[in-house]
Symmetry: C2
Subunit: 401 residues, 2 copies
């Protein structure tokens, strides 16, 4: 008996009609001879309704009580979905996170899954019961309800698929797969049949916004085949797995990220340990640094330029200004009018000329490159934000036409 | 350290302003040096919203899934109330039924509490934490969520008060106590300072609708002092306890019940065991019989008249008609135009003349009595439903003026 884990996001269960549609998907999968565990998010905007209720009473509510409040959202959707499946005459049971065995740490609002006690679900699956699990939630060792934070339901689904040795984990969403570029921006963007974990991780980090990185990392760690597909079209989506197809395209996708700040630290004293002090200061503030460029400055000084997420820009400047004398720097400049455009592809490694093709494409469209960063399966360039959309189209045309 | 259990119904936490008001009541009680455990229902009409959602998808949903759905209501209100108390700077934690240790049987939608595992709450109380508990819910031995049915949150509160040895259990509601008659009907109705469990049970059964019988029975069994009071007026309410004040009024209240059917079984063969067969037949159908009147009929037959709840009237007639020959009866007549008006009072026993005063009051208002039933602390009369309101006023005037 094959087991398939299916995850349905908030828009997929937003109202009664959508719930019925999801019940159809689940029971069709079941009728094909599979066992099914479905992981469900809260209905549509219900989480926002609850957040508003909390803010009206106490905008500084503890995370423990926020988790208690928000986890009611999935409780409602799992019960409704189970009722729709009962109506179709199939054996079904809904479970809250704790009932499905999700044990987490005590980091309320952003908890990590420690373990899944799978006995109850396995017993029910042995009886061919369809299982509906509330995503996004678990309990800690005090038996308090916790939530998993952003991308939590995806993570619940992948973790369950790993624990239960599922054949695959299907993530139903409002897009029908992973594309070579944002289809709203690039008319010729193509849906990928498959993509590797590593490529998907780079694309997620780079702002492709299909799956949260955390769930892809977990899928990679436990080697779970994940399929991203639409709950409306019923067409095959994109499979994310260890190795994508052999005859794959050289690059899997073009992504842009505009939530970036570029910080330039000028006239750093050119002594050993200076860069270390600078970056350990930022690390202490939990500010992640992405691309780093170091250049020789004047009179025995050097300049260091790096990027952080736009959210962290102001804080990074503040920290550096406060420690100007400690570190030995003259000035700090922050620029938020930049964008990072990247190409990702496992085939890149064995195909020389990818970088030059990328640079050509940008040069021929008069797009200036400020910084470059490369990994084995990725090349990112930092450019002016006003050029970002044009750059994505130009690069996509260069590689796919 | 005294412990007070406070229960707040759905209207008491219907919106943010009402939640704030309840937070004030709780923290004032706490500041007076008490520990507080608050039991809360779902907000206002939220349970109805959830029932509508269920009916839209599956009007025949299983009770297990209905319990899963409905229990989300209290989850939301306990979290919001805890947030309001956090804002006031007090240590507080909310708990779901299962976290508070409520273990029930598996009778979904109408579960009975089996035991309360009180360790967690006791540990928190020892730290002077204010505890907010989701009423109406628990879990069964499979770890499935169950709900307690009608009057469930009152029962949760009284059960917790008993388990934790609370000084008293305050039931906050939208009336400010127990009255000698319905204040909407009788202008001179007086609020009682106290009333005994037995009197309250008779009044609840008789349709006073302040507290569900189940919670009063539990209070009586575990000798918990219960106070019924309003969350808006902040005035003392009515205390329900083993023995009410010594110098109490002879009667504690006048109640009417119009949801009654009177069934007359005519020309029963007058042989031993006939009445037994008749009533055991009804018992098998779980139809409760209240007042019974037996009279001699013609030609060696007798007539039996009894009352049942209006809901059960049609079913009772059906069962008797089907078994006419078995039992040996000629005809069955059902009358739903009747009402039961009752006076309740522990002082009745030692005060002769209560019954005659009652009959006088009705006679002087030309109200005809069809049947009479008495217990040690109660006299009920069956009258025409059109006379019911006049009868309540006449009786109340006779005893309180």
């Amino acid at each position: 008996m094959n087991l398939i884990v299916q995850k349905f996001g908030g828009t997929s269960v937003a109202d009664a009609a959508r719930v019925e549609n999801v019940a159809d998907i689940i029971t069709e999968t079941y009728k094909q001879g599979n066992n099914v565990v479905a992981v469900v998010s809260a209905q549509g905007k219900f989480t926002d309704v609850l957040v508003d209720k909390a803010n009206e009473i106490n905008p500084k509510a503890s995370k423990r009580e926020m988790d208690m409040l928000l986890s009611a959202g999935e409780q409602i959707s799992v019960a409704l979905l189970a009722m729709a499946i009962e109506k179709r005459g199939f054996p079904v049971k809904s479970f809250l996170g704790w009932q499905a065995g999700f044990q987490t740490d005590s980091n309320y609002s952003n908890a990590r899954i420690r373990t899944i006690k799978k006995e109850r679900i396995e017993n029910e699956l042995a009886k061919r019961t369809i299982i509906i699990v509330a995503g996004f939630q678990g309990i800690n060792r005090y038996d308090d309800v916790t939530t998993l934070g952003r991308g939590g339901s995806d993570t619940s689904a992948v973790a369950l698929a790993a624990a239960l040795n599922a054949k695959k984990c299907q993530i139903y969403t409002d897009v029908d797969g992973v594309y070579t570029a944002d289809p709203r921006l690039v008319k010729t963007a193509q849906k990928l049949d498959s993509i590797s974990y590593d490529e998907m991780l780079e694309l997620a980090t780079l702002g492709a916004q299909v799956l949260h990185n955390r769930s892809v990392e977990m899928a990679k760690r436990y080697n779970v085949d994940v399929e991203v597909l639409s709950s409306l079209t019923r067409k095959p989506g994109t499979i994310i797995k260890e190795e994508a197809e052999v005859e794959k395209m050289i690059i899997s996708g073009v992504a842009k990220d505009t939530s970036i700040a570029r910080i330039s630290v000028l006239e750093l004293v050119d002594k050993p340990g200076v860069a270390f002090r600078l970056f350990s200061l930022l690390a202490k503030e939990k500010i992640n640094v992405d691309i780093i460029l170091q250049s020789v400055g004047r009179d025995g000084t050097k300049d260091i330029t790096f990027t952080v997420s736009k959210d962290n820009g102001a804080r990074a400047v503040e920290v550096l200004e406060q420690n100007k004398k400690n570190i030995g720097i003259k000035g700090v400049v922050c620029d938020t009018n930049c964008a990072k455009v990247s190409i990702v592809g496992a085939g890149m490694e064995s195909n020389p000329g990818v970088a030059s093709k990328l640079f050509d494409a940008l040069a021929s469209h008069n797009i200036n490159i400020d910084m470059v960063s490369t990994s084995e399966i990725k090349i990112s360039v930092l450019i002016d934000v006003k050029d970002a959309d044009r750059a994505v189209v130009a690069i996509h045309d260069a590689f796919y036409n």
